[in-house]
Symmetry: C2
Subunit: 249 residues, 2 copies
């Protein structure tokens, strides 16, 4: 499995991803799931991938090949709006899945489905994030739901639901994203480090700030320690039962 | 869906359950999923239920009917050890599921599977908790994994993984269980209030302390408020990025 998420706040975008892939429990490997395409002052696209690794790699190969073709009808640099880029990626994904559909049907090694998060900005337009489903269709985030997740999304959802709003700062959203991924890593063995984090400030149209945290990174260790202590303190703040208050007074 | 959990600490047991059941999204109802059987000084059994409501109700009906039969080969009062009671409940569940297997196979309304958590104590033996799978087999908790969950277990797992150890007090474990259920309610519409909570102190062999929290209960509101504030503070404690420390100094 995998866990990736993107957050869209007023000031910009945050992307986070784990790096574990596995085929069964005895073939566990590390792959980056965050792919950045930048044309400064023109457009930036960040793509996060989850699901079948062959499908997501094939989609990336096709994205890169189409970029090299000056006469390509469509590529991620040509879409007029970001949703058109999302549509194009959804079509590449569907095409790849169809190619192997018959063989995958006979196989017991899971399906060929993959999902994607696409985020970024085209100059003159707002920054946006999209979740592209395995079926090729896609949704964007909204002020009420300013984040999107793919893969093992449940463990890390409560913290996002409580903290993230459109007015959250990019840095606070990034810390929240790190906690969301770290909680998932801790509770689910199919999600693992390093954690990649990208922070993009809207309207800069430049390479986002990028960070890769391994288990030994001082920031990762410090985050884990502070979060554990913070949660303990949060637990200590919770209301006491009658008999406890009596005994404490 | 449902979310129930039980925690076994050195001092005793904690049980928590939500109360929402649904058949599709247009038939949502409220049922207690916590059932307590107490014979003071002799034994106490707490049963939490998840999955198909017809199956779990049938199992409970059978448990009650068998208790009324003085000559019953087995009932929850006759098992010599708690694991035998778990085995008996697993068999009742399997028997019930088999009865409807053919009809359920033709239906599109989900399966007849149900899972259970059984916890309690038989005088002279340690207090224990068991998770009974839909297949009728069962596992107990351990010092390394002192909690068991059924139903929508992912949202509420990270907090348990970080806080609960065998030396946690019953009250702290109960607060943690409440947060675990409340986080799930917040992130998943198929899990809903009231939350039931039971706290059992080992070797008392008496009715556990029982609490039912609705959305309007002062304790529920206070818990929500304190937890939200505590999480915000925990987020504020997290390490800053370089440029933030510079700007703060």
């Amino acid at each position: 499995m995998t866990y990736c998420l993107a957050i869209s706040v007023n000031k910009g975008l945050v992307f986070a991803s784990d790096s574990r892939t596995n085929a069964g429990v005895d073939y566990v490997t590390t792959y980056s799931k965050m792919h950045t395409f930048v044309w400064p002052d023109e457009r930036i696209c960040v793509l996060l991938t989850a699901g079948n690794l062959a499908t997501s790699q094939a989609v990336l190969n096709n994205i890169r090949t189409d970029l090299e073709k000056p006469n390509a009808k469509m590529n991620i640099r040509k879409g007029q709006h970001l949703y058109e880029v999302a549509h194009y990626i959804g079509q590449l994904s569907q095409k790849e899945q169809r190619q192997h559909a018959d063989a995958m049907e006979k196989s017991t090694n899971g399906g060929s489905e993959a999902s994607f998060i696409l985020g970024g900005q085209i100059a003159g337009q707002p920054s946006e994030i999209f979740l592209i489903y395995p079926q090729g269709n896609y949704i964007s985030a909204s002020p009420e739901t300013p984040y999107l997740q793919i893969g093992e999304n449940k463990y890390g959802k409560p913290i996002l639901d409580r903290i993230i709003t459109p007015t959250t700062s990019i840095e606070d959203a990034a810390r929240c994203a790190l906690v969301s991924v770290e909680s998932t890593i801790r509770s689910n063995i199919s999600v693992g480090p390093p954690i990649e984090l990208a922070m993009y400030t809207s309207d800069t149209i430049q390479e986002p700030y990028h960070l890769k945290l391994t288990l030994n990174s001082p920031m990762y260790k410090s985050m884990q320690k502070q979060w554990n202590e913070g949660l303990r303190k949060a637990c200590d703040r919770l209301p006491r039962f009658e008999w406890e208050s009596t005994s404490q007074e």
